[in-house]
Structures are given as C-alpha cells and as structure tokens.
C-alpha cells in the first residue's frame, strides 16, 4: 500500500524547485517504477511526493549547435530507444535503454529516475559513465553541473542535495563523436530483470590502434564504475585479441564485486573479464575497426 499524505504536481521547474525549498521532505517521483516499488515493499514507509511528470520540457532530447547532446531527465526509456538523435549519435545508449525492464516499464521509467535511484545495476548508468556524461542539477537559487561519476556516493546513495532536481544529462561532442560502442546486460532473463553485470564499452579507433577506450560497469561494485587501468593500458595499443585479453584482465582490477545470493564474487569477476572483451569486440566494429574473430 502506498502511504502518501501529500502529493504535488507542479508544471514548471521553478514551481517545482520552489515547492522543494518550501517542503524539504518531499520525495521526487517521475515514472514511479522505483519509488512506488520501494513504498510497496515498505522500504519507504511513508512519503510526501513531488511529481515532476507535468514539467514537459524535461522530456526533451536535443543536439545543440556545438554537438552537445542534452537528454531531459524525464525522457522515458521508450523515448530514448526511439529517438533519432540518440540512434544516430549514441546508439549504445539505445541498446542500454532497450535492455531495461519490459515495454510497460520502459514507457514510464525515466532516465533521470534511473540515475537518481542510485542503483549500481541501473541500465543507463554504465553507458553514461562510459560517455563521460554530466548532470545538471537545479535548485531554486541556481544550478550546478557535475560528472556522473561524482554523483554516485554509494549503494542507493547519490549526491542529490536537498532542494535539487536533476534536469538534464549532458554529453559533450568530444566524448561521443567518432566512437563506437556496445552494451551487454548480463542477466538471468532477457527482459524484466536486474543485471548480474552491465558492461558498456566505447572506443575510437584509427589505423588499427585504440585512440581511446572507455568501459563502464554496473554491478561490479557498490556503484557503477569505470575501468581506469584497462582504459589507460588500451590507449595507443594495436587492436588485437591479445590487447583485448589484457584489457579484460585489467578491467577486473577496477571492480569491487562481492558475493551475494545473486552471484559470487569470483563469478562476477570472471564475467567482467569475459564480457568487457565481448562488448569491446562489438564496439570496435561499430567504431569502424576490423572485426576480431
């Protein structure tokens, strides 16, 4: 049962930030696919809700003049999966979006909610990590823009300060142009599931050499994370099976996997090594590189 006493539904961001300033206890709800589940299970016993669903401009996905991509926090996963800008510029995010939930969930779940929920398993997060995405957070008084990596503080904990609303996800042109990517969601089911491991790999290739490699992982630690060691190793290396094997091994070093009833640490690490290579293999192809056997 949903124990909700107060419910607000502002239509502009200014109204929303003003309400938040006035009622600091308000919990922001967008699609509700996380908040309502937590309320149903009792993880949140009672809440007063601020719905941002009526703030239509937060649904906007656009490409600015300078090539910067801007995704409104209220964009649903269905919208992202079907959006021509996403499809053309960062198809890897489309892959991630389509791996989430099922059609009904994707119709209401939003990318902003996916991030603010703070789960390491968030399907969009590992890709946004790999894309060096930045988050725009707005308050009544102003706004700040921070890298997504800084936003995640711990399991289920994000740096959303009282009064703040995540309004926009921003990706700079130098972070996605000429890159190819691929997302692998490893889960027990092909739909309606939570990832055992999420791997998003993107790369830029010139003359058979990795100019840049970025690997974002979900469920390899308490928060989504990047494989720094593997990435720095990869830079400037020839694209080859050996390089990939080494990247796979190094990727494990960045992880902080643990054993739970869902999967053992050993198995998760094994998957990191294997799947980061598999994701990168497809990313190489998508970046215009020669496919590896």
């Amino acid at each position: 049962m949903y124990n909700v006493d107060q419910y607000f539904e502002p239509e502009t961001i200014d109204e929303a930030t003003a309400l938040l300033a006035e009622h600091p206890n308000l919990l922001i709800i967008a699609g509700g696919t996380d908040v309502l589940i937590k309320m149903h299970s009792g993880k949140i016993a009672q809440a007063d809700l601020l719905s941002i669903r009526k703030i239509k401009f937060l649904e906007t996905i656009q490409k600015r003049q300078d090539g910067t991509l801007s995704i409104g926090s209220l964009a649903t996963f269905t919208q992202i999966a079907n959006d021509p800008i996403i499809k053309e510029n960062i198809p890897v995010l489309k892959e991630a979006a389509l791996s989430m939930g099922g059609p009904q969930i994707r119709n209401v779940a939003t990318i902003g909610g996916n991030i603010c929920n703070g789960a390491t398993s968030a399907d969009s997060a590992s890709t946004l990590f790999a894309l060096n995405a930045k988050l725009k957070l707005q308050t009544q008084g102003g706004e700040r823009v921070i890298p997504i990596e800084d936003f995640y503080l711990g399991p289920g904990k994000v740096d959303l300060k009282p009064g703040e609303i995540l309004t926009e996800i921003v990706i700079s042109p130098e972070d996605y142009q000429d890159y190819g990517g691929h997302y692998i969601k490893f889960s027990m089911r092909k739909a309606m599931d939570i990832a055992t491991l999420g791997v998003s790999a993107i790369c830029r290739i010139k003359n058979g050499v990795f100019e840049d490699v970025r690997i974002g992982l979900g469920v390899a630690g308490p928060t989504p994370l990047r494989c720094q060691e593997a990435e720095s190793f990869a830079k400037g290396k020839t694209v080859s099976a050996q390089t990939l094997a080494e990247i796979g091994k190094l990727a494990v070093k960045s992880t902080k996997a643990r054993t739970s009833w869902r999967a053992s640490k050993e198995y998760r690490e094994h998957l990191v090594e294997e799947l980061s290579q598999r994701a990168l293999k497809v990313a190489i192809k998508n970046a215009g590189g020669e496919s590896l056997a």
Binding site: M1, F186, M188, R189, R262, A263, Y267
Partner: protein
Amino acid sequence: MTVNVVGKRVKRVDAVAKVTGKAKYTDDFMERDMLVGKILRSPYAHAIVKKIDVSKAKALPGVEAVLTYKDVPDNKYATAGHPYSLDPKHRDREDRTILTKKARFVGDEIAAVVATDDLTAEKALKLIDVEYEVLEPVLTPEDALKENAPLIHEEYDNNIISDFGYQIGDVEESFKESDYIFEDEFETSIVQHCHLENHISYAYVDADDRIVIVSSTQIPHICRRIVGQALGIPWGRIRVIKPYIGGGFGNKQDVCLEPLNAALTLAVGGRPVKIDLSREECMIATRTRHAFKYKFKTGVSKDGKLIATHITAISNNGAYASHGHSIAMSAGTKFRPLYSFKSIKFDPVTVYTNLPAAGAMRAYGVPQIKFALESHMENIARKLNMDPIEFRRRNLLGEGYVDPLNGNKVLSCGIHECIAKGKELINWDEKKEKYKNQTGIKRRGLGMACFSYASGTHPVGLELAGARIVLNQDGSVQLQIGATEIGQGSDTVFAQMVAEVLGIPVDMVHVVSTQDTDISPFDTGAYASRQTYVTGMAVKKAALEIKEKILNFVWGMTDIPAEALDIEDANIVYKHSGEVVMPLSKVAMQTYYDTVFAKPITSDTSNNARVNAMSFGVTFAEVEVDIKTGKIEVVEIFNVHDSGKIINPQLAEGQVHGGVSMGIGYALSEEMLFDEKTGKPLNNNLLDYKLPTIMDTPDIGVAFVETHDPTGPFGNKSLGEPPAISPAPAIRNAVLDATGVAFDRIPMTPQRVFEKFKEAKLV
C-alpha cells in the same frame, strides 16, 4: 453424432469474455462497505509467541477487529484438496489452526486485522506488539531428521510426516542378477506456481446466517468441507462460490485463506471482509513445490535391460503437511508404467522443515522424480555406450501392463510413436552428427526424456464428478458441472462433448462457469489432470440421457420409434436417411408447454470413475551453452504427447506451451531462496524469482500421437499436467550432450553452471 465438434479447434467459450474484461474474477465483485483483512506474519522461522498485545491496533480508527490464535477455534485441520475419506487412516494430517501461537516458517500467520481500508489495516499490523521466544530453525531435511532435532510440531515424536514406501519383487536379489549397478544422486529446488492471480477471497454472512465465501479456488466443494472442519460448524452452513480464476497450477487445490476469511467475517458481525494476498505473501504463505533429493541404485544387464532399481527420496515438505507424503507416493507410482523393472524398492521420507509449506503443483511430484530418473537413464546409457534413445526403447513397457500395486491397466500407449515423432521433428540424427567434437565457446547439444502419467487419482482418491443439463425452450442447453475452469479450458471441452452427443452446435451449449456449492453438482475439483477424463464422462452420460429423453419425447409426439431417430444440427432426423422430422426447438417447446405431456427435460448425473488411463510423452530439446558465461539457451524444444484423443487441438497446444515454459524455468532459472541461517525468504517477488519471460521461451513445438483409450469418454487421457514433466531432464541431458558435464541439480543457473564448468576445467 454428425456435428463432429470433438477434435476440432473450437474457440474457447470464455475467450471473448476474458479478453474484453467481462469475465468476473473474485476481485471484480463488489459488496457494499467491504472491509479489508490483513495478516500479521512471523518474522522468525521458528518461534513461540510469548506475549501478544493488540490493544494499540484495536484503538486505531478504522480498525474493526484484531484476531490472534486466542480468538479463533482451536481445531486442527488439514488443508489439502483431497476428497474426504470415510476411513480415518486415509485422511490427511491435521496440523493447522487458523492462526498460530507457534511460528513454523517466516510468514506464518500469527494475527489478523480487519479494517476499513488497506492502509489502515497495514498500519494496524505494525501496532501489534508481539514478544517471541525464538527457537532454532530447522531449515534442511537432513537437519530435521537428526536425532535431537527441534520438533516443528510438538505433538509428534519427530519431524517425519511419513516414510511409507513399497517394494515390488526383491531388489537385492535382482541386483545379484544384474551385470552392472549404477548409482546417482539428484536434487531439485523449491519452486512456486506463480499463477497470475494471487490468492484472494472474500466472505460475509448472508440473510440465512450462513457464511458465503467467494474464492479463487480450484476446489469449491472441498473448500466448503475444510472451512466447516476448521471452524467446527456444520458444512451446510457454508457456501463457497468460485468465479473465474487467473490460474492455480495446484496452489489453489489447497485451502489457504478461506477458514481465516470466515473467522474474520464472523468477528465483524458478518460484514464482508476481503483478503487479497500480495505477490510477496502469496509466494511464501500459500504452497510451493516440494524439493526432493533422490538416490538411485539401478541394476542393468549387459544388453541394456533394466532389472532393478532402489530409489531413496527425501521430500522437503516445509512447515505444514498440506498434501504431505501424497506427493512422494504420486511420484513413486506414476513413473511405473514407463519402464520395465523386475524389482523396484521405493523408500521415500517426507519431512517437516521451517520453510513455507509445500503442496500440490502441476504434475504432483512427478517432475522431480522424472528429472532424477531420466537423468539417471541418460547417465546409464552413456556409461553403457548405448544410444540413449535405444536404451530407453529397449525398456519400455507399453500396452497391456498392469500395475502390480494399484491394478491400473495400460489400455493405450503411444510412447514409441512419440519418441519417433520427436526424433524426427528435432532432426536428431543429423544434428547429433553435426555437433560431434565441438570445441568453441558456444556448444550445442541434444537431449530427450520420457514420462508416464495418470488421468486422475484412482484408486488412491475418490473420482467423483457431477454434471447437470437442462434443455431450454429453443433447443439450447445449460450445462452445469462441479468441475472448475481455472484457465485450462475445461468449460470449452465440456461444451464440445455435449454438442457432439446432442447433435447441436457448440454455441447452443451454455456452460455455467461459476461453481457454487449451493447450486453446482458435486465434483472434487481441478487437479490430477482429471477433468476431461473423469468429469468428461459425467458430461457425456448426462448428454446421452438428455438425448434419450428427447428422442423418446419425439416418439410420443410422432410415433416414430426413438431408435429410428437421431439429432443432427439441432434437428430431429430419421437415422437411416438424415431426413428432418422436426426442429429440436419444436420438441423443446412441447416439453415445456404441451398442455398434457409437458415435462422439461433435464439430467443430473454423477460419474464415479474406477478406471485410470495412463498417458505418455516425450520432450526433445536442443540447447546452446555459452561455456564462458555458463548461460544455457534452449534453441529448440518439442513435446510429443500421447493423451489419447485430443478433444480440442488448440487448447491442447496451449496446455503444452504453458507446461513446457514451466519446465524450462524449472530446468534453468526458478528456485525459491532462503537465508541459510534464518530461513528468511530472499526472492519472494517476480523480479528476483526468475520465472522465464516470453523472451526467454523459444518457439515450442507440439505434436500429438492420438491413441484411443477405451476408458475415456471420447478416447481421451490426461494432458493438463504432463507437459511440465519432461522438459527439465531433456534440457539437462542436452547440456550433458553439449558439454560432457552431467548436472545433478536444477535449476542450472549461470552461477551453478560456471562452478561445474570450473570443476570440469572448461573455464
């Protein structure tokens, strides 16, 4: 009988009502000012309530009643949906009370509240103060069997519900005659039915001071009896109504909510109270499938003939007996008509543990034993260097087999044809050749498994089924049955049977889908794949009686002897020529309004089946295994069934699709997990419990080998449960074929597969 609708793909009689939302389920019925009942569940697997204080909960505005074990009758009762037995020794173990002072699993029912709405009821639950004395939980059957194990039910000497078994022949002697002895051990997991509609009921006291319960149940007549027993009131004071149901799979062949629901309405002066379980509650506090551990010791001759098998089984029954040892005995019985053994010793033990109670679930213990037996058969064939199909063929029993323990005789058997068809459908020989010597990361393999099953429970249980038909003025008929439509399509096949016998179109048969114990004929309900076979015969008998009465009436009207007449397409015709004598509607009008001879035509029939037809079948599966990630994908799967005559191929295919999908989940992903120390459920929701989605289910191939069983109303045999039996071992055997790794436990989750592959040095 020229209309010929039996065997046709007749549209479900409830299809339009269901897809348009007109079909009413329990939650769709409204009573004025319906109250909400909610249950306080134990957070401990094993504990005694020392003190319970409900005063704060009672004081909350909107709370109408709070009940604990002190406020309900202290009658012990059994919940299994079995027909009552006049022989006390044959009854189920009575080990439940409506609410309990002793918690026996996490989720056990300590108290209940009635409030004006859900939220108030939830809040009231939190206001109940309980002081528990926490006891050591017993979470595995092995621990439960230990000499000084804590007693889960203190009125018994130990945690064993039963260890009754049997021996046919002398296995020790037969082992001496065997050239080889093979031994294997297998284990299955606890799984849950996951029917779409959770358990739900509501109850009120009517104007005659009787308790009316509307419930999503497979067994309304049995439910009435059990509520009477639990409350200690005459059974006739209770009326159970069963509307449309969103699935049951055996979990509603048990009485879970209704006794408490009756107690709750009595506690508020007969006002209506609804109990609607959440998925999380439903998964732990209704029933589960028993997890089994099997040991097989089997003697085989050099030429691949089975000689003897000694089967040891431990059945994990959870906290309450429910169907109890019947599950193990069903398993030990239903596999027998398949393979020839000179001797069989079956040693099962069914044990209490502090886990959710296990009960009936589709195929009633047989998926467990068949996973073990068919895996064992595969292992033996491989060790003998024999083709696994040939090995099985050599040992099949077939027609004429008479079971030495229950006397059931196999009168029809198409197992050889099923195997041949399955082999052809999956392209066995060609693929086997192609998949030899694979070394890549993704490897494919083929596997198969056979099964035998029964149609109903005879002679263990009473097989009584009632049917009533009334001829209307326009020549159409109403059909009432006590058997319950729970999604499987029984209403439709009964309509087909009536249409077939009466020579009228199916749409002239109006099936009353709701069962109401005040009105419906007596029938024990939907279980044991019995309805088309047992109730079908009752329906046929009722229709034959109606037909006889109609033709006799026409004889009176026309002086044409009844035996010279027939009914075709709703007309009375001459049998010899088909020439129409008069429309059926004309006869019907006379039966109602003839000033001298009017006597409406009805029939009220009961069938007490003392026969049981064995059905057979096989699964062929192809898998692709990702050696590195441990992921198994079913690429192709075919189920071929000998269920006798198929009454409605479209519905039959649907049954097979559902059963195979259940089997795939059983093999690869489904298991209920509990904290090993506390017994707390870890995954009692549909996110963490990995029921396969449609994306995880390959196209399911279905074929039938239509034998004719002389004991079935139209030559038909069971089909409801059988499709869920053989997929898991077939998939397991395919994985063995692909990788050389012999799994002895399901589900084969990626984590478990990874561990086994590491052991086998594949990764």
